[in-house]
């Protein structure tokens, strides 16, 4: 070894062999170490690694159910599904999304609207979600993208089911729409314990029937076990549990009637609710202007959104359920019933109307809409000519709390309980209410305006419709509904939803008969809605109304021609027909329409004509042109 002077081959060889032995033993030890490592991995830990390997290769993919479709009462499709290609981007897989979209625009068309919508979606969602940049691609576009696919990592063509609303704006407030699930929806889904069923679903009903009947429409999510490779590509399906499609909804609307009603509004804003007075089925539910629900399906772009949201016409507001207006003279039939009910008036009792009414102790007069008054007015005539003076005195005699007590069972001042969300309760004032709300005493003068449906009294068109339906059906409370049946997706069996029992109100039939007779004369010559009944082969019972928009000082004269369009009064009309066998009861509100008789009345006529005779208007006069008698 070191420093060894003479060569000794045998000793040298033995040193070498010793070293070789040491090395060989070390090598054996090292191999032994490997053997123990393999035993550890492949025997002891085998289950663990087997699980990991299975988790690697098996991916459970949710299979989203088809959403149930929505059909009107005659089987017309109101909301359907169609399958189309979308091009989706997962932003986390793309470096510069903007640049990638620019590049995409050289291959297929990307409209500014698509970009805006994508940007909005991106702000609202997490980075790893797949978001559509283009929807409804044509076959040619799909092919063109496929050729250039390699240039666009993180982009993917997907076949998806889309929701479409074939009637566009028509009935949009009733049908509602679906939209992409947002954070608030996720929280609600999780709170309801439905997170599993919503895996893979990216749309949810947001409004109207789509929102309220989400549970029926969504269906049950299935799942598919697929084998995937390291790149996440599916290689083959291992097993599959089929999804169960959502149930179809049969709604009470008649879409043709709805169209007639919407067209009848012409350029006016407003609302209409038409009910079957026997069942509470909503035949038409109009809120004008509407909106195109199709805009919301793929996520609305900011420009359209701003247009809808900031329009002074408030197209997103469902006026039928959420518009709270002074009901005006339309409540006079109910006031007349209250008068008879509490014995404050007999049918024969008449006043001589000088055109105003004086509250004792108050110097300013309460004016009738008709200067000079209506002459001798009894209960019947008070409805037919809509005499304010009659009701000023009546309200004073009844007092606000009796009015409140009588109106509440008719549905005023509370939500009707219609089967879609967002309804507002209106307001039926009382002394208690004023005290709680304002900590103020109720003044006698407050009651007088309430007597003609003004002052604190606010109602929604839906409430007016249910109230007039009660008059039509002989005094039974009505619960309006939009969905009448659910069709099981699998069995096609139709489950009729029960009609909520109609509670008879304590209205005497003879009282009701008096008021109904007066309402029939409203649409006859001499009434405030003569035009509605003119030449109709059926009898219409109705009542006009006008709701003040600008608070007028008592005694001030109102000249509608001088008032700006937005400050014109709202026109109201409630009616049912045929009066002798009511099939349709409705309430109409025309914003800034002026007089009920001349603006809202013709709308009612068109609806009745179509609903009862199947007749469409031949020539439409401009609403409000022909100025009949006021109020």
């Amino acid at each position: 070894m070191v420093g060894q002077a003479l060569r000794d081959p045998r000793r040298e060889l033995s040193v070498f062999r010793n070293r070789l032995t040491v090395a060989g033993v070390l090598a054996l030890v090292a191999f032994g170490l490997l053997v123990s490592r393999f035993v550890w991995l492949q025997v002891v830990q085998r289950e663990y690694y087997h699980t990991l390997a299975e988790a690697n290769r098996i991916s459970v993919v949710p299979v989203v159910p088809n959403r149930g479709i929505i059909l009107d009462r005659k089987g017309q499709v109101l909301a359907a599904n169609y399958s189309a290609y979308t091009l989706e981007i997962t932003p986390s897989k793309v470096g510069n999304v903007e640049k990638a979209i620019d590049e995409l625009a050289t291959v297929i068309e990307v409209a500014p609207r698509d970009r805006r919508r994508f940007k909005r979606l991106q702000e609202e969602s997490k980075n790893f979600e797949s978001l559509p940049i283009r929807t409804r691609l044509t076959e040619e576009e799909v092919a063109r993208f496929a050729v250039n696919r390699w240039r666009f990592p993180g982009f993917e063509i997907k076949a998806r089911l889309f929701r479409s609303y074939p009637h566009g704006e028509v009935a949009s407030h009733a049908i509602g729409y679906i939209g992409r699930i947002n954070e608030g929806d996720v929280r609600r889904i999780e709170a309801a314990g439905l997170a599993t069923n919503y895996k893979g679903t990216d749309h949810i009903g947001k409004l109207g029937i789509e929102g309220a009947y989400e549970k029926e429409l969504h269906g049950t999510t299935g799942s598919e076990q697929v084998e995937i490779d390291a790149g996440g590509r599916a290689i083959r399906a291992l097993s599959r549990s089929e999804p169960q499609s959502g149930n179809n909804l049969l709604v009470t609307l008649d879409i043709e009637l709805q169209k007639v009603a919407e067209e009848a509004f012409q350029e006016f804003r407003g609302a209409l609710v038409a009910l079957d007075p026997a069942t509470g089925d909503v035949l038409a539910l109009v809120s004008k202007p509407g909106f195109d629900p199709n805009l919301f399906v793929d996520g609305i772009d900011p420009v359209n959104w701003d247009a809808l949201n900031n329009s002074p016409d408030k197209p997103l507001n469902n006026r039928a359920l959420r518009g709270q207006y002074p009901p005006g003279s339309t409540i006079k039939p109910f006031m007349a019933l209250a008068a008879l009910h509490y014995g404050k008036r007999t049918p024969e009792y008449a006043i001589s109307d000088p055109g105003h009414w004086m509250l004792p102790g108050v110097s300013r007069p309460f004016r009738d809409w008709k200067p000079g008054g209506h002459g001798m007015v009894n209960l019947h005539r008070s409805v037919v000519v809509s005499c304010d003076t009659y009701y000023y005195g009546l309200a004073n005699d009844l007092g606000v709390d009796a009015i409140h007590r009588f109106m509440t069972p008719l549905g005023f001042g509370a939500r009707t309980g219609i089967d879609i969300d967002g309804e507002l309760p209106g307001l039926q004032p009382s002394t208690d209410w004023k005290w709680q709300r304002f900590k103020q005493k109720w003044y006698a003068g407050d009651t007088i305006s309430v007597g003609i449906g003004q002052g604190y009294w606010l109602s929604t068109p839906l409430q007016l419709a249910t109230a007039v339906a009660t008059l039509a059906n002989g005094g039974n409370a009505v619960h309006p509904r939009l969905v009448r049946g659910v069709q099981d997706a699998r069995t096609q069996e139709i489950r009729e939803l029960p009609i909520r029992a109609r509670e008879p109100l304590s209205i005497k039939p003879e009282h009701l008969e008096l008021v109904r007779a007066a309402m029939i004369d409203v649409t006859k010559p001499g009434g405030t809605a003569t035009r509605v009944g003119q030449g109709a082969p059926y009898l219409v019972a109705g009542k006009t109304g006008t709701a003040q928009v600008v608070g007028m000082k008592a005694g001030e004269k109102y000249d509608e021609k001088k008032v700006k369009e937005r400050h014109r009064d709202h026109a109201l009309f409630i009616a049912y027909a045929p009066a002798d066998n009511p099939k349709v009861a409705l309430a109409i509100l025309v914003e800034n329409g002026g007089h009920g008789g001349s603006t809202a009345g013709p709308i009612a006529r068109e609806v009745f004509d179509f609903a009862l005779l199947g007749k469409r208007p031949e020539r439409r006069q401009k609403l409000g042109e022909e100025d009949g008698p006021g109020d």
Binding site: M1, V2, F16, R19
Partner: protein, 365 residues
């Protein structure tokens, strides 16, 4: 005629070693087929071609007597060194490392030459100085070793550098370097570890850290090692069957036909397969050490010993890395991984062993 041909072909071939090599290489081809997705013979044919070239080289080298090999040692070493300097000056950069030299007609990786040239050179050196080895002789040997290793570390190619260092170290160790020095060098080395750590590249440090905790970065540095241990572990005792490894066939195992082929093998053939492979390696190393023990000259002994132990080192480092007990270094699994260069240098090494094993009488006479 045929028996004459067989005689020419097999005269300088060591039977037991050859049998073990052929078995291992055949196993390798089977796994390469599976690792290339099954269904395409391209890689198997490619590897078969590599194998034909490497076997021819083995036969040629086996027919060169050890004395002639000894004469080749210095030119091979010097030539290799010159090429390494050439790499440092004019080398091509690929994947951030300067390892290749473009000779105009072909591109070579001179560090591969050194895998054979270094042990030959050192064995030659100790043979020349066999009368009375002094500390100075070992120091000179260390310099001969340090030159190529240093150049390769700078490329950087830490894996190859370590293996070449190992092959040289085995020669010095077998030549009889005193235990005292080995131990003191070992202690110094350990003491210098923090300094070495500071000299490592970022990616090299990450590889070592990954070994300690692969889950630290499961989709980045840890991904290879996690997926390969899952593959091996999920293979169980008998494996999932040839072509049926899910980890391998679905692409979860990266570099599955080259450095990580053991993961494919372990998954599809299970513990039974890995034990058979280790047994083959033990037989090859054992036979090599036997040839070394019985060799008649210092040069032959040292060369044979170093070649055998270097082979062991390859096998151990690769298996250790793929099974997650050693850091990831770019070392193929000997005789199994797809790739021509490593196979060629490996079989040339075995050619040297066979030459030593079959030329004994000539040398001793």
């Amino acid at each position: 005629m045929i028996s004459r041909l067989f005689e020419i072909l097999s005269r300088r071939i060591d039977g037991p070693l050859m049998v073990a090599l052929v078995l291992t290489v055949s196993l390798g081809l089977t796994v390469v087929y599976s690792a290339s997705g099954g269904g395409s013979l391209d890689r198997v044919i490619g590897q078969g071609r590599n194998l034909a070239v490497a076997l021819a080289a083995l036969w040629v080298v086996a027919n060169i007597p050890p004395q002639a090999l000894m004469r080749l040692a210095v030119p091979a070493y010097v030539g290799g060194l010159v090429l390494l300097v050439g790499v440092a000056l004019f080398g091509e950069v690929r994947n951030g490392a300067r390892r290749w030299l473009n000779l105009g007609f072909t591109t070579i990786q001179p560090s591969e030459i050194m895998k054979i040239a270094v042990p030959l050179m050192l064995a030659w050196y100790f043979q020349r100085h066999e009368e009375g080895l002094k500390l100075r002789d070992y120091a000179l040997a260390a310099i001969l070793l340090a030159l190529p290793v240093g150049l390769i570390v700078r490329q950087p190619d830490l894996g190859t550098a370590l293996l070449i260092f190992a092959s040289g170290f085995f020669v010095i160790f077998l030549a009889g370097l005193s235990w005292k020095i080995i131990v003191s060098l070992g202690v110094t080395g350990l003491a210098l570890l923090p300094v070495l750590w500071g000299m490592l590249h970022d990616y090299q440090r990450r590889r070592v850290l990954t070994l300690i905790d692969p889950m630290e970065d499961p989709l980045g540095a840890g991904y290879h090692i996690i997926q390969s241990t899952i593959a091996i572990g999920s293979g169980g005792v008998l494996g999932k069957g040839w072509l049926n490894g899910t980890q391998a066939q679905l692409d979860f195992v990266p570099e599955r036909s080259t450095d990580f082929i053991l993961a494919v093998y372990g998954e599809e053939f299970g513990l039974a397969g890995t034990l058979v492979l280790i047994l083959l390696y033990v037989l090859i190393v054992g036979r090599g050490l036997m040839i070394a023990a019985n060799a008649s000259t210092t040069f032959a002994r040292l060369t044979a010993g170093a070649v055998s132990l270097t082979f062991f080192t390859y096998a151990f480092v690769n298996m250790g890395m793929v099974s997650g007990i050693l850091p990831v270094v770019g070392v193929p699994l000997p005789l199994m991984s797809y790739g021509g260069t490593a196979l060629l240098s490996m079989l040339v090494g075995f050619g040297v062993l066979m030459s030593i094993s079959t030329h004994k009488q000539l040398v001793s006479s």
